[in-house]
Amino acid sequence: MEFYRAHVLVCGGTGCTSSGSTDIIDKFNDELQKHGLQNEIMVVRTGCFGLCEVGPIVIVYPEGAFYSRVEIGDVPEIVSEHLVKGRIVTRLLYHDSITEEETIKSLDEVGFYKKQMRLALRNCGVIDPENIDEYIAFDGYKALGKALTEMTPDQVIDTIKESGLRGRGGAGFPAGLKWEFTRNAVGDKKYVCCNADEGDPGAFMDRSILEGDPHSVLEAMTIAGYAVGADQGYIYVRAEYPIAVKRLTIAIAQARQYGLLGKNIFDSGFNFDIELRLGAGAFVCGEETALMASIEGRRGEPRPRPPFPAVKGVFSKPTLLNNVETYANIPQIILNGPEWFRTIGTEKSKGTKVFALGGKINNTGLVEVPMGTTLREIIYEIGGGIPGGKEFKAAQTGGPSGGCIPAQHLDTPIDYDSLTQIGSMMGSGGLIVMDEDNCMVDIARFFLDFTVDESCGKCPPCRIGTRRMLELLDKIVSGKGEEGDIEKLELLAKNIKASALCGLGQTAPNPVLSTIRYFRDEYEAHIKEKRCPAGVCQALLRYIIVAELCKGCGLCAKHCPVEAISGERRKPYTIDTDKCIKCGLCMEKCPFNAIIKK
């Protein structure tokens, strides 16, 4: 085996790939070849490093130099300066990774990583996900070996139960109990399924795990198969995740080749294999019964429960269904023991949670923190705060099923129960930050628009009810809201929650309810005063020229596409609000900032 003196790790997650990391890898290989370094320096494509905001990211070991926003043109410099001469290219280093003495901080000391605890993401950005050996080098498949050779299925289930691990897909059901139900269910054949149908707008943690560490999911599913008595697994992943699908396919082939999937694994007599099932991207297929219908090749529609999947799932056989992130925790729980896992997190929510940080935040990316971390820590310490020094208004968690958390709850320790208590939910872990420029009515409308689109149409409360709610919101944001609309929304929401068939419908009203709960004044401003306080809702905006500031240059009138602005040179101009189409061009063109929107 070659001895490589340096490893160049290039992020191959979806974020960095779309900003050109594949070309960067090629360029590195070219340049190394040119300098004759190809046998002493290894270029590795890894999974997501998490700090997607500053991608493409390149980390060079052994120094641990963290290069951010690397462009193709920078590669020759990194090779000739850093890799040939050992002079780190300081101008490309991530700004927070250099100390005052200009030395490099270790990654754990960088603000973004300091408060993080990476369990589910432990291998993301560290190993080459397309190389099973690297996974094994970091203790991969050891948990499977331990489970199959040293533990009984009951012991495995007890371990998971004792760990306190709860489902990371959203509802937070205790994973161990689910495993036990499936084990105890009677059936000649059982299945283990993985829900990788990540559909929340703004959530990408499952994708990143599959892209960065696919073997951890395969290993965990195999352990689950042993525990519940299944010999077949399915991963239901969306076809929209091509990189994840490709790496899973490679991982499954490698695991089969090593005999870590297939017959008689670890000489224990246990057989298990995994197949992929690609989803077409319907949001409802993330709902467990719809997902299983889709795996069977039927239309992805939910059905009433009970019977629960543990009793009657895929092909009417008992089925264990967990989410990607839940599985990613399993191998470590088996290896380190349930006591270790219980030391992390809060009383009722153990372990860590991965969040996809998005919206108005400096460090867009993927973070993993112990349960019980506060929103303030996530947004300000890890996320680096809000761009432009704007004021925090709310954070939306749980996507279209969740709700928003306003500023007064910034210090609530985040876990399953505290989030439910303040009217939101953990959901899969999307976390969208909003500042003073976001209109909460508009946000609620956005999410409802999404669920109306994605409603499968099987049950009337969801099909018709959510549409009625959307119509009410449309009315409010277009300035036609009436007294009583808020109460109508609340009543509809209550009834839909109580009567919809599946989780999608039951949780669809949540964004509306939680915004009404915390930002009722904004709804009222829209309805009573026909005003949008954040200045977002077009129909409620008026562009006005402030007479005192206007110098009468006429630039605005010249650019107005509908000739709504008139006036005399050197005297204040005026906007005819009836003609104005609110394009905002005049405001952009005014050299004196004399035009405001209200």
């Binding site: 050992g86 270790s106 560290v126 080098a137 203790d139 005999g259």
Partner: protein, 122 residues
């Protein structure tokens, strides 16, 4: 896969290739690769280190470069850092000297005094 031992074999083999990315305490060999160093022949010295480490399958050693160490007339220079010990600076390095440094210093912990900067200054 038949046994845990088999898995352990693969793990050990693979660990060598990823070891560099872990936090380690091991020996660090730093080769001066400023313009002066390169001109004086630092590159063959660096390659000799890599070759020798590979040949002997030594674990837990990193080889890195640095810029000009400062005494250009004594280049190529190499610094060896062993955990808990003073840094040792070797001067006027050649690929042949590398073999001895690996054998005596890196493997057995006895620095090769006659190659060090201290010997030159006497």
């Amino acid at each position: 896969m038949k046994s845990l031992n088999e898995l352990e074999e693969i793990r050990k083999r693979a660990l060598e290739s990823v070891n560099l990315r872990k936090d380690r305490e091991g020996t660090r060999v730093v080769v001066g690769m400023g313009t002066c160093g390169i001109a004086a022949g630092a590159r063959p010295v660096l390659l000799a280190f890599l070759e020798e480490i590979k040949k002997r399958n030594i674990q837990d050693v990193t080889v890195t470069q640095t810029g000009c160490i400062g005494v250009c007339r004594l280049e190529p220079m190499v610094e060896v850092y062993r955990p808990g010990e003073e840094k040792v600076t070797y001067i006027k390095m050649t690929p042949d000297k590398v073999k001895r440094i690996i054998a005596e210093h890196i493997v057995n912990g006895r620095s090769v005094t006659e190659y060090t900067i201290g010997a030159e200054e006497k």
